[in-house]
């Protein structure tokens, strides 16, 4: 039985790698779902680049302070021990290498760690960068959550990005709906692969060479039927 992971399952898997005590910035889209799936026994601070260290759960519908929002412009709460600050201080925190991990979405990741996630070259629409370039350049580690292929079956893990780069050579790990891969000096190394998918099938869905870790194992994620976000 081959079942690709859902969005929430990908986010769950990425969240399992967040260490106790980590300071983490989550990008918009799938990455921000990971906040709901961090193991309860780990003390993790989520940074939001508009000026929060310690984002808490979303408030109940209609509750919360409209002057307290996260980087996705959602009204949020603060956790115990949180702090708020201005954008220049926030990006000094990011650029200064104080954030342990940023998890970002992407259009493409290349075998040399290049990241393309800001310009999908949509016709008639203006450019949108936001904080992605600063996060990619500044965080101690850059992890990516994205589907392994595009909607029409094109590869997103590639030899060289064809979309404009966000940053060069910085992605360390990629979580897809088919596999978990590390990006190292020898390109993509598969750490985990979903049960029932052959290595050849994974290679066929990827436009760059794959190596498989000696201890490559099944990619497991629990059945998450309700979106906790």
């Amino acid at each position: 039985m081959t079942a690709a992971l859902s969005r929430d399952q990908m986010a769950w898997r990425a969240a399992q790698d967040l260490a106790d005590g980590a300071y983490v910035n989550l990008g918009l889209g799938m990455p921000v779902l990971a906040a709901s799936y961090a193991p309860d026994d780990r003390d993790i601070f989520f940074q939001s680049e508009n000026g929060i260290l310690g984002v808490g759960p979303l408030p109940a519908e209609g509750q919360g302070d409209r002057e307290l929002v996260d980087a996705g412009s959602r009204v949020v709460t603060l956790r115990d021990g949180a702090a708020v600050f201005d954008s220049a201080a926030s990006f000094a925190m990011i650029r200064g290498g104080h954030v342990d991990i940023t998890i970002l979405g992407a259009f493409q990741v290349a075998a040399n760690g290049d990241l393309a996630n800001w310009d999908a070259q949509v016709p008639n629409k203006g450019p949108l960068i936001g904080g992605a370039m600063d996060l990619a350049a500044g965080a101690k580690a850059v992890h990516v959550i994205m589907r392994h292929q595009t909607g029409d079956g094109g590869a997103r893990l590639v030899e060289a990005c064809t979309y404009p780069l966000t940053a060069a050579g910085i992605v360390k790990r990629v979580y897809t709906d088919l596999a978990v891969l590390d990006v190292g000096p020898d390109g993509f190394m598969v750490r985990e692969i979903i049960p029932g998918l052959s290595r050849d099938d994974l290679a066929a869905a990827t436009a760059a060479p794959l190596t498989f870790a000696d201890d490559c194992r099944d990619l497991f994620a629990p059945d998450i039927s309700v979106n906790k976000d």
Binding site: N50, L68, V69, D70, F91, K125, G126, A137
Partner: protein
């Protein structure tokens, strides 16, 4: 005697002229000076430069600014309207009626901070190796390529805060500060709309932005 309180929008924006540059605070719906923004279009100005994190917030606040073609140049991190259909400002940009300086958000914040701190330019690794760095001055520091970025200043900065006193000292709520604190330092005239002007001066250890950076404060309720 210092008293930076003003009573109405026209006094708050006095001296703003066509061709001026404006920094406008706000992230999401936090810290948006919506009263001040909505007072701009009726002033009949043209060729304004807007320096703002996400331009769609201006359109949501008062679409007539672009409808009436009052904006000539935009410095922003996000020049995109919602949905797939191009917004009015995206069409004006494509026709060349509005010019654009698209900037990574951390670089945007730091260019403004530098502008207020007397630093004319700085190097940052952000955007190195990307199309934004093409044709720009770059240099290696510690083995890492960095891009030279110039400071930003403006004629006016428009902010929203929770509380002010007559000295212009500001207290921000939640994530209201965002770009506003830096913008206030980098503009010739800083105008702040606040929920409340305090009867008493703010306690010194609760002043988030000192009044030296603020020229005018106006009490105005939050608009949605």
């Amino acid at each position: 005697m210092i008293d930076k309180r003003v009573d109405d929008l026209s006094t708050a924006l006095r001296g703003l002229q066509s061709g001026a540059s404006l920094m406008i605070s706000g992230f999401g719906n936090a810290g948006i000076p919506a009263n001040l923004v909505r007072a701009l279009a009726p002033m009949g100005l043209s060729d304004l430069t807007l320096i703002i994190n996400a331009i769609r917030r201006i359109d949501e606040c008062d679409a007539t600014l672009f409808d009436q073609k009052r904006i000539g140049h935009v410095v922003t991190t996000a020049f995109r309207g919602p949905g797939r259909t191009p917004a009015n400002f995206e069409e004006q940009w494509q026709r060349g009626e509005v010019t654009l300086d698209i900037v990574p958000q951390g670089t945007f914040a730091e260019r403004i901070r530098a502008g207020g701190a007397g630093i004319p330019a700085f190097y940052t690794p952000t955007a190195a190796g990307t199309s934004l760095a093409e044709g720009r001055e770059q240099r290696l520091f510690g083995g890492r390529m960095c891009v030279l970025e110039e400071a930003l200043r403006a004629d006016f900065a428009l902010l929203r805060a929770q509380k002010a006193d007559r000295y212009g000292n500001l207290f921000f709520r939640g994530t209201q500060s965002n770009f506003g604190s830096a913008m206030a330092t980098a503009a010739d005239i800083t105008v702040v709309e606040v929920e409340e002007i305090s009867e008493h001066t703010l306690p010194p250890d609760q002043v988030h932005l000192p009044g030296i950076y603020v020229d005018r404060v106006l009490q105005a309720p939050r608009l949605d």
